[in-house]
């Protein structure tokens, strides 16, 4: 049985800066990384592999250089890596992205029964948390998002039991295979690759599935298959406030100024 871990290569958005003059993004020198949430999805897949003897395939849709990130997945122990890359896949929103990923999983399932698809909760560049549910819905798989603990798998009954974290409570859920689960960062601590594994991964094959292989209708993928259109991208407007007094030299005076302002505006009652 197979576990499919879905990963995405993303720019490290925490390192992106805004040019204060032009208001545009400064992407120079910003590294591409495996989406942090997906490192936990991969790790959980590998733990289930260790515990239950399942095979792990990693899939990623992205430009050709995504191969680098897929090799990192091989270096920590994934058995197979498939790169879904084609110019026809580009410009996809979450609907068109889940189409390609779901079809890739269908392709894998033809060769080997899929038990689980594991995704990260969301990506750090898109922040939508929509692709996991998209995959589950397209494939008719059980959908379990926000999982922070997998209790057990029952390979005979083909069931998973896990815990989901919601606002203010947790729930323990049981669902049938095949299931799509999306995981939180709390679920585990990702391992690091060993040097020998890293060397092996350098030469390990990353299989490319482009649209010649996948044969998807172009109206359902990429820009054409996207239901949303980005009309405009802009920098958030900011209105510079007022700097009060000389905070370094005279904290007392600054405190007096601030409290004066707050009292004056009825924000603070003495």
């Amino acid at each position: 049985m197979l576990i499919v871990a879905c990963i995405k290569q993303v720019p490290d958005t925490t390192q992106v800066k805004i040019d204060p003059v032009t208001g545009t993004l400064i992407r120079e020198g910003v590294p591409f990384i495996m989406n942090p949430f997906d490192t936990h999805a991969l790790e959980e897949s590998l733990r289930l592999k260790d515990k239950y003897g399942l095979r792990v395939a990693v899939i990623s849709m992205g430009p050709p250089n995504t191969e680098v990130t897929l090799r990192k997945a091989l270096a920590v122990g994934a058995d197979e890596a498939i790169l879904l890359s084609d110019r026809a896949f580009g410009g996809a929103d979450t609907l068109a992205t889940s189409k390609v990923l779901a079809e890739a999983i269908v392709g894998l399932a033809q060769k080997e029964e899929v038990a689980l698809v594991i995704c990260g909760k969301q990506t750090i560049d898109g922040d939508t948390a929509q692709v996991g549910p998209g995959i589950a819905t397209r494939l008719g798989y059980s959908q379990l998002t926000l999982v922070d603990h997998i209790d057990s798998l029952d390979l005979n009954a083909r069931k998973i039991r896990c815990r989901r974290k919601l606002e203010g409570w947790h729930e323990v859920v049981e669902a049938s295979f095949p299931a799509m689960i999306s995981v939180l960062r709390e679920i585990n601590h990702p391992r690091y690759p060993t040097v020998p594994m890293r060397l092996i991964a350098q030469d390990a094959p990353v299989t490319l599935w482009d649209n010649n292989v996948m044969q998807l209708d172009k109206a359902t993928i990429g820009l054409n298959g996207s239901a949303t259109q980005v009309r405009r991208i802009f920098s958030p407007e900011r209105t510079q406030g007022e700097i009060l007094g000389e905070g370094i030299n005279d904290p007392g005076k600054v405190a007096q100024l601030l409290i004066g302002k707050l009292v004056e505006k009825d924000l603070l009652f003495i």
């Binding site: 993004l25 922040d127 409570w169 729930e171 323990v172 259109q229 980005v230 920098s235 406030g241 905070g247």
Partner: protein, 443 residues
């Protein structure tokens, strides 16, 4: 006439304007019918000028206007000549755009603004009412009805509550099969209602449950869904303009769902303002029965574990927040923030760095990966103001920033900035409040 045939009007070649591309995901490449666009390792387009025919398709799809047409000096000369020949009318060589034919008649079948009422075992999530507030504005602009969707087990009381917040109609599915939220039963119920009654807009709270549901519904209906919207408006065509932070919160994007309906958005709690409650309002309840049975589902909720109240402070609901960042330098130093919060009847929150350092629990985190807050006063102490933090608090009424580094981005959103040592400023503020109160008490 002979002349015009000979001199072909140049269409120009596309080029990238340096510094503007955000590597959105190769929209330009995908749009190019001539394979004239290759993407480099940085995700930026490289135009093959031997293939580009100047059709402008890539310019149209670029969300940041990073592509432009240019003409060689010779082409410019030809253009100038053509312009003088034909006069002003034929002047700028705007490409004939085959405007995408939107099936407006089909889209027009969808009418009304719907809001999903989220609840846990009958207790409503406040974000549902916030969405009725913004949903009411949208419905008014469009001249359509504002409706709610209530799905659950013994939840009819929520219908009346939805009316008080502005809904004029509620679609109700009340059945034991909906006792616990499960993706499959809920999404199928929602899709059933949408397919039957065809709303043009469907709003859902961006909570754990809401995002789980919305993603499944949108995929099933093959329509557009925009997550975590911070602004919703209607454009001149009556389409929903959905504005949200993109690229990890570094920029804002306005997104449309042009070809399909409903237009779906999720919105985080506390992003929209709570509408006024009017208990006198009444509305119509439309009852629908569940189109399936319990036996149809294999997913079971086995147990609900209420989180033990180790921390019962809800930062998202507080009017006054005193928030600490990495500049607080240690767990023990949050005590002075607690003192200030106590003086102001507020609560203490923090940035992500603080949670990662283990100084505060994750429930107190404000920002992109934490909570969105909009208190009356937000006091940021030793928080530099990474964009991921700013998106979680920048709509607070008054923001007070205390930081030693006067270049810190937090000052860009601050109403009042104080450049100084947080360990001197905060005690000074506490002392000032206590002094004033003591003076008043003495009078």
């Amino acid at each position: 006439m002979a002349d015009e045939k000979k001199v072909k009007k140049p269409r120009g070649i596309v080029r990238l304007i340096p510094g503007k591309c955000i590597a959105c995901g190769a929209r330009c490449q995908t749009s190019c019918a001539k394979d004239a666009v290759e993407m480099n390792d940085k995700g930026e387009p490289v135009i093959d000028i031997s293939k580009c025919i100047g059709c402008r398709k890539c310019i149209k799809v670029c969300p940041v206007e990073a592509l432009e047409i240019y003409f060689t000096p010779e082409e410019q000369k030809v253009l100038a000549e053509l312009a003088t020949q034909a006069g002003a009318a034929a002047a700028p060589a705007e490409a004939e755009e085959e405007e995408e034919s939107l099936d407006l008649a089909k889209l027009g079948e969808y009418r009304g603004v719907w809001v999903f009422v989220e609840h846990t075992e009958g207790k409503p999530a406040e974000v549902s009412w916030e969405l009725l507030g913004v949903g009411g504005d949208l419905a008014k602009t469009r001249g359509v009805e504002l409706c709610s969707v209530v799905i659950g087990d013994k939840v009819e009381h929520l219908c009346q509550e939805a009316f008080t917040y502005g809904a004029s109609k509620v679609y109700l599915m009340d059945d034991p099969v909906f006792h616990y939220y499960r993706t499959e039963s809920y999404y199928k119920a929602v899709c059933h209602l949408i397919e039957k009654y065809k709303p043009e807009i469907f709003l859902v709270g961006a909570t754990g449950l809401g995002r789980d549901l919305a993603g499944a519904v949108a995929t099933n209906l093959a329509t557009g869904l925009t997550a975590d919207c911070t602004g919703l408006a209607i454009d001149e065509r009556g389409f929903l303009l959905q504005t949200r932070p993109a690229f990890g919160g570094n920029i804002m994007a306005t997104i449309l769902t042009e070809r399909t309906r409903p237009q779906m958005s999720t919105v985080r709690p506390h992003v929209m303002t709570m509408p006024d409650k009017n208990v006198a309002r009444k509305g119509e309840i439309v009852r629908e029965s569940a189109p399936f049975k319990e036996q149809d589902f294999t997913t079971k909720v086995l147990e609900i574990i209420r989180d033990s109240r180790v921390d019962d402070v809800d930062v998202a609901a507080a009017d006054i927040i005193v928030s600490g960042g990495r500049g607080m330098a240690g767990k023990e130093n949050f005590q002075i923030l607690q003192e200030l919060a106590d003086e102001l009847s507020g609560v203490v929150a923090c940035s992500r760095a603080v949670v990662e350092a283990g100084w505060m629990p994750v429930e107190r985190q404000v920002g992109q990966t934490g909570k969105t807050v909009r208190p009356k006063i937000y006091i940021a102490c030793g928080i530099s103001g990474a964009i991921q933090h700013l998106v979680g608090m920048q709509s607070s009424d008054v923001i007070i920033a205390i930081n030693r580094d006067k270049q810190a981005p937090i000052f860009e959103v601050a109403t009042y900035g104080i450049v100084g040592d947080v360990f001197e400023i905060v005690p000074a503020i506490i002392k000032r409040i206590r002094d004033l109160r003591a003076k008043k008490a003495a009078k």
